[in-house]
């Protein structure tokens, strides 16, 4: 017997056996790896693992170890694309072309008038793009109670002016849910959630360029018996691949409307909008022809569902009960897992166990046969509705040859990251200078209009200095978001996960964990939320715990300020290199702690890695830029609310109480006044703790304020040093101001060692209340965010201490 992992690039063979691990085999089957399927090896990742295969029109990456447990027929090994070889040996239909329709239970209403849809589909099918295009800004984001999965609903105005409600459900490959978000999709479609009524209708989004694989989930959804519309998305890609689809034929075969469209082109959405507005939508009667033994077992369990006993065995079964029964029967450990309770099986679980035992005896390989039967019907459907011949996506293959090459893959990855960071220091400089000039002019205007007094000081030293000090970094943040949006939109993120899987595997995680970590470069919060796709709870928790170590955009102003103070006259390449070094430090720390947690408090086996590699797409620049402006709006709103409020309060803390001056005594200096203030006193309280890190009490004020949000550190320094600025002093940039600061002994405060100490502290510490709040919600506990705060801040303190004290011992300053 030959292993799948033995195939060489360009070779394909037919699968003869799947792993004995039932869960792994089940996942592989759902993705179309069945006995008799031809599968081609494309390439392996630069470090030899994972491996990329092509089957049923899509690319799938699997770990070498798992691929070695799939066996192939050596005699079928040959060179050539899967599609070419499939044409040579045309599929023989195993089943009748038109299955007997299933009679629908009489109690279901014949006419449906409600217009609310659940939007479902595979991952990467463009479902969310379509949802966003249909609903625009009329969206609401909340949460499903009890689980940490986002509930996204929206509406649009239908053809007759009525509101059409859409509920965007997480992407799924199958109703046999594995990850938390897939379970939400399953539960909503089966009406198992009390907080979300079962949808009246379904909008099923299908990726036309991967029709066969997408139809697996679609056909399961159609079996639920709900009125359904299919949106056949990426129709242009299917045509470019040389595989146009006869949508009328597909609609006729499936018995539901099929609307071809491109979600990125608004003009193509009109037929879908009209379809969604229809008063009546048909239900599909399409069913796969399944083994009779299975059908009897399924019916028997369905009839017993929730304690309902069959009166007449010929009575058609409710599609919902049949689907629930099917999921219970197929699950290998339903009697011990929470699945039976989740599905509301009741007494049916006992019968399910007996029926499963019967199937094991009477119908060998029954699980394989079920999935094969479905795929066989799907293959007939594709054969009947898809024309032309597959044209290989040469662009994707050539680009992947480069971007996943053992050498050039890494060079490309590092090159892209370097380009991103250097751009931050070059392109952003001009708008930053303009913003600085603008705020300086505003400050001058206030000073000209108002007489000296507290209000004038508040506006110039508090509001303008504080808010301006943060807003000036907006261009850099936008450039960061632009690059990340570009990487996501083009499909490169999946390649990054493919590249990094071997590295992630070494720390006990898999490549999928890298995507939330990479997203955390923008902000840890969406990164933490996207861990919902990680099936293993321990792996998910580890990823959540280390995600904030990835340097987020809020740290960028702090990094930029410290680098400006540290090396004012160095080239952008040097500054960019240091910036990259900081990001690398955070990344290495994340990997190190992930390894440590997986070895100690969150020990567990290495997770399964199965990931689709979508084709590269031209980025939708208008969408990326639109998102950039949205983020700019959010950032400015935050600057105008949270940062503004903090700046006002900080000014108060740094200016009051005022020193009372005895008659005849000299006027106190600004520094003395600052030391006398609430902020000064608080800074002095923590100074003994931070002095060993090279920090003084003013930096201490900044560290305290930064607990609310990291970028507030910059605004705080701006407020503190502006408060200290004497009347008539010219307004330096903040970086210049920091460089001129001196300690009581006239030595500079912001020495290179101190700047590095502050930088290392900010790289590693947990300083975001919002992130802690999300961690609390996502982990459903208080101890994990507390643990996260202490392990990160403790590490930051120790690292900065070693750096500063060690540097001084070595003679640096």
């Amino acid at each position: 017997m030959t292993r799948l992992s033995s195939l060489r690039p360009g070779e394909s063979a037919v699968i003869t056996s799947l792993p004995s691990d039932v869960k792994l085999a089940s996942r592989l089957r759902e993705l179309g790896l069945l006995i008799g399927t031809r599968i081609a090896f494309v390439r392996c990742a630069p470090m030899g693992d994972p491996l990329e295969f092509r089957l049923r029109g899509f690319e799938l990456s699997i770990r070498r170890e798992d691929a070695s447990r799939v066996l192939i027929d050596e005699t079928t090994r040959s060179l050539g694309t899967v599609e070419t070889l499939a044409r040579v040996a045309a599929p023989q239909p195993m089943l009748p072309s038109h299955p007997a329709p299933l009679a629908l239970p009489e109690h279901l209403p014949g006419e449906v008038t409600a217009k609310s849809y659940a939007v479902v589909g595979n991952p990467n099918c463009g479902k969310t793009t379509l949802f966003n295009a249909l609903t625009g800004m009329r969206q609401k984001v909340g949460n499903y109670p009890g689980v940490t999965v986002e509930k996204k609903s929206g509406q649009f105005i239908g053809q007759h002016g009525e509101r059409v409600e859409l509920l965007d459900l997480p992407g799924s490959y199958s109703l046999s849910a594995h990850a938390p978000d897939e379970r939400v999709t399953r539960d909503v479609l089966l009406g198992l959630r009390q907080d979300t009524p079962r949808p009246e209708r379904i909008l099923c989004v299908v990726d036309a360029s991967h029709l066969e694989r997408n139809l697996y989930f679609v056909t399961q959804v159609l079996e639920l018996g709900l009125p359904t519309i299919i949106a056949l998305n990426m129709i242009d890609v299917a045509e470019a691949q040389g595989m146009p689809i006869n949508t009328h034929k597909l609609s006729e075969e499936l018995g539901v409307p099929v609307i071809p469209l491109q979600a990125t082109r608004k003009e193509s959405l009109l037929p879908l909008r009209l379809a969604l507005s229809r008063a009546e939508i048909s239900r599909s009667s399409w069913r796969p022809e399944l083994p009779a033994l299975w059908t009897r077992a399924n019916d028997a369990v369905a009839a017993r569902w929730g304690g309902v006993y069959p009166v007449d065995s010929r009575t058609p079964r409710d599609p919902l009960a049949r689907m629930k029964a099917a999921l219970l029967l197929v699950a290998p450990d339903a009697e011990t897992s929470p699945l039976a309770e989740e599905l509301g099986a009741g007494e049916a679980v006992i019968l399910a166990v007996a029926q499963r035992a019967m199937l094991e005896r009477e119908l060998p390989e029954w699980r394989e046969k079920l999935v094969s039967a479905r795929y066989a019907r799907i293959a007939e459907l594709c054969h009947a509705t898809q024309g032309g011949h597959y044209i290989s996506d040469a662009f994707t293959h050539r680009l992947d040859d480069l971007l996943t090459h053992s050498v050039w893959g890494w060079v490309s990855f590092v090159g892209m990251m370097t380009l991103m960071f250097v751009s931050i220091f070059t392109i952003a400089q001009y708008p930053m200078d303009w913003i600085n000039m603008g705020f300086d002019k505003l400050s001058g205007l206030v000073q000209a209009v108002l007489a000296p007094g507290d209000l004038r000081d508040l506006l110039t030293d508090g509001v303008i200095a504080g808010v301006g000090g943060v807003v000036v970094f907006l261009p850099q943040i936008l450039i960061l978001f632009f690059f990340i949006g570009l990487l996501e939109d083009t499909g490169y993120m999946a390649r990054a996960a493919f590249l990094m899987d071997r590295v992630m595997n070494k720390v006990g995680l898999h490549g999928k964990s890298f995507i939330p970590l990479l997203s955390s470069y923008a902000c840890a919060i969406p990164g933490i939320m996207s861990t919902r796709t990680i099936e293993n709870p321990k792996d998910r928790l580890v990823t959540i715990l280390v995600a904030p170590l990835m340097s987020c955009s809020a740290r960028l102003p702090v990094y930029a300020l410290m680098i400006a103070a540290l090396m004012p006259s160095r080239t952008v390449w040097t500054k960019g290199a240091l910036m990259m070094g900081l990001y690398l430090l955070g990344t290495l720390a994340a990997l190190l702690f992930a390894w440590l947690f997986k070895k100690t408090i969150l020990k567990g086996e290495t997770p399964l890695f199965l990931m689709e590699l979508p084709p590269y797409r031209l980025p939708a620049l208008h969408q990326i830029i639109s998102q950039m402006f949205q983020r700019a709006g959010i950032f400015l709103k935050r600057a105008g609310t949270v940062i503004l409020a903090i700046s006002i309060i900080l000014w108060f803390l740094a200016s009051f109480p005022k020193m009372t001056v005895a008659p005849g005594a000299p006027e106190p200096t600004k520094t003395e006044e600052l030391q006398h203030s609430f902020a000064g006193r608080l800074g002095h309280v923590i100074e003994p703790a931070i002095a060993p890190l090279g920090m003084d009490w003013k930096i201490g004020i900044g560290l305290i304020a930064a607990q609310a949000a990291r970028e507030v550190f910059v605004g705080t320094m701006s407020v503190v040093y502006n408060v200290e600025r004497k009347e008539g002093d010219s307004p330096d940039t903040l970086g210049e101001t920091l460089r001129h600061q001196q300690r009581p002994d006239a030595s500079p405060v912001y020495t290179p060692l101190t700047c590095l100490s502050i930088l290392v502290f900010f790289v590693l510490s947990m300083q975001c209340v919002s992130t802690l709040a999300v961690v609390r919600r996502e982990t459903n506990s208080v101890r994990w965010p507390i643990f996260q705060f202490f392990y990160m801040t403790g590490t930051a303190y120790v690292a900065a201490l070693i750096l500063y004290q060690g540097g001084r011992v070595l003679g640096f300053h």
Partner: protein
């Protein structure tokens, strides 16, 4: 504007800022989560490429 009026106005703004935080905290107790105010889009990313 006299110094006294300036001081009173400034302190009123400080009280307003403090009230803002108190109200935001109370609102967050009812709807826990980041509220999307961190400069990111909290509604993004359920699965790759979606």
């Amino acid at each position: 504007m006299s110094p006294t009026i300036q001081t009173v106005t400034a302190l009123a703004l400080v009280v307003g800022a403090a009230l803002y935080f108190i109200l935001a905290w109370l609102k967050k107790r009812k709807n826990p989560g980041c509220g999307g105010g961190c400069g990111c889009s909290a509604s993004s990313k359920t699965k790759l490429g979606e």
